[in-house]
Symmetry: C2
Subunit: 385 residues, 2 copies
């Protein structure tokens, strides 16, 4: 097992009716800015519940944070925060709203060009406004980690950054608030969570037995309850398990002490940027091809995955690995997330641009062994056709 440092001070308030508990977590007298996205929280009553919980606080709102939140939109919010001396941010939404709010929290206290925060992967920032979250879409894991991904339209870049000051103070996870989500968003969230786990699990063995068992537990639960979440949208336990999977899939627990990949995510970000594909869909396209092309490097863990996650026990090594990758593809397809570029009317012509974008963004040595070059990505993308 590798050495690691694990620190995660986010307080999780999980379950039915927990929105009312946010008031106990925000300093009395704070001037609070509620951040949100396209307005679904107005239609489904979540914003009303948040407002009722925060009676007596000085409240403002900033809506319109888009999926794949942009630097351009977020800087407008930073201006609002500064002009109104906001003390505390409350992100109400999914990963995009939470990621965007992390950037706002950092940028509001940053002196200098705020894009530096992202460009330096968080190295240049020192502090951030405190913030909490009310999660409405299980997928990104942002509600219990210190990372975020921000898009800069002008620079044509979608890049991650992280900093210890960016852990939410608290996150409310009420599975009932996910009942009204469109099926497509739930399915994307299942894929996103699944691929988060795979990025931390399907690398090379370092004898991290708990990390492996926990990752496998997450994957098995997603495989069981992902399709059920679509078939039974108001099954509380199913939604609860899914929500908890998304959070535990990317809160630092399963990556502690083991190698991590993340090549699928980095290529996926470029696909989103170029083709405006949903994040989850890009991962469903890239992952099966990524695993297939890099199967020999990931052989031992893929064999373990085949056995423990998919109960594949017959055939030689290569056959079992191929079968596990095929099962992965079938799982994504079974929840209506297509896994081929052609299903999204995309063809080989985009591949050179993706490869160029990766080079432009410095993503030239990806993966757990830093050996996924733009040239290898080209091969992988051809496998996605």
């Amino acid at each position: 097992m590798n050495n690691f440092t694990l620190y995660n001070p986010t307080k999780i308030l999980f379950g039915k009716g927990r929105i009312k508990d946010v008031a106990g977590e925000i300093p009395k007298g704070a001037k609070v800015l509620i951040t949100y996205g396209g307005g679904s929280i107005k239609r489904n009553g979540v914003l009303d519940e948040v407002n009722a919980a925060l009676q007596g606080y000085d409240l403002m709102e900033f809506g319109g944070i888009e999926p794949n939140p942009t630097y351009e939109t977020l800087m407008k919010c930073v201006d609002v925060v500064r002009r109104n001396n906001i003390d505390f941010l409350l992100a109400v939404g999914g990963g995009s709203v939470i990621d965007g709010t992390k950037f706002i929290a950092a940028a509001a206290l940053y002196e200098g060009d705020a894009w530096d925060i992202v460009k330096t992967y968080g190295v240049k920032m020192k502090r951030a406004l405190p913030f909490g979250t009310v999660l409405t879409l299980p997928a990104s894991g942002s509600e219990m980690n210190s990372g975020a991904v921000i898009t800069n339209r002008a620079l044509n870049a979608k890049l991650p950054f992280m900093h210890p000051a960016l852990f939410p103070e608290f996150s409310v996870l009420d599975p009932e608030k996910t009942y009204s989500l469109p099926a497509g968003q739930i399915a994307n969230g299942v894929v996103d969570t699944f691929v988060h786990v795979v990025e931390q699990y399907l690398t090379y063995p370092v004898n991290g037995k708990l990390q492996d068992r926990f990752a496998e537990g997450l994957l098995l639960t997603l495989i069981e309850d992902g399709p059920r979440a679509l078939a039974e949208p108001e099954n509380y336990d199913v939604r609860a398990n899914l929500m908890w999977c998304a959070t535990l899939g990317l809160n630092g627990l399963i990556s502690a002490g083991v190698p991590q990949d993340w090549a699928t995510h980095m290529v996926g970000h470029e696909l989103t940027l170029l083709c405006e594909l949903d994040h989850g869909k890009t991962l469903a396209i890239v992952l099966p091809a990524m695993l297939k092309i890099r199967a020999q490097d990931k052989k031992e863990k893929l064999l373990q995955y085949a056995q423990r996650v998919w109960s594949i026990t017959t055939g030689d090594d290569n056959a079992r690995i191929d079968a596990s990758i095929e099962k992965t593809r079938e799982f994504f397809e079974s929840i209506q997330v297509p896994t081929r570029l052609c299903s999204y009317n995309l063809g080989a012509d985009i591949i050179p641009t993706i490869v160029e974008q990766l080079k432009a963004h410095g993503m030239v040595k990806l993966g757990e062994k830093k050996d996924v070059t733009p040239e290898l990505v080209e091969v992988i993308l051809k496998e996605c056709l």
Copy 2:
């Protein structure tokens, strides 16, 4: 799944050579009291390493915290803390030293009779001195939770308490520091961790799929690596997995959203108090009997345990449950922790006293359904003979 709140701000510094990193975690200029037990940390060089890491700090030491730390000893340390204006405590040792240090941290700032802290299960305390830990014995999980168990000799009581102010600021977990432990202590630690997990897992189902999978992952790892830790004392990965099991087995993660039992622990504490048996040994005695007598109440989870942990798939329900309990007993015996009172030269004559002690300590409604009465404990103890 049940509602839950999960909060755990302890920073884990895991791996080889991490003691040197404690300096970065303690405020500069703090007056630090190092607390420890019987002195093994002097013989094995751990204290020297800690002192070297803390060069430049104003340091004091307090040794002699015994296994099952007593109020009487700990109050002497509280006096030292108060007279010397100590700012920060650093517990170097196993669960007893860490539990004791938690009491010292709370009592040093408590106005009034410090035993009230324990007697009220932490309700009456409001704050504690900050403290960190350097763990040398994986077992209690105290290094990443906010609970402790303290013995009061004068009152003949061994009782737990907890408070959010009692999370360590940091804990150093260096698996190499466990190489020199006697085999008996490693074995007790494996049993302690195993039973911690079982107390949070073998109750009744609430569809907490991840909690179950994680608990099963912990148990499977203990079953694989517990015996190997005895056979290969300097196998780093084995010791690392064991250490991480102990911490994750009782840090709030697997209990979040599911019922908890703890009857085995409460009965075990009375056995330690009366017979001076090691904590781990009391658990090895009580657990198999506890599961057997309460098998019908725990039927669904025991069947799941039989299948997923012990791969028992043949026989009717009762046969599979019996086999799983027998496997549990055999596992403890296989690492040289006997599971019968008679192995410790104890007989039926102690049973009435144990039952009376439970009543005296208010332990009259134990277990996940609060239906484990002193009368039922009597039946269970007869099964332990």
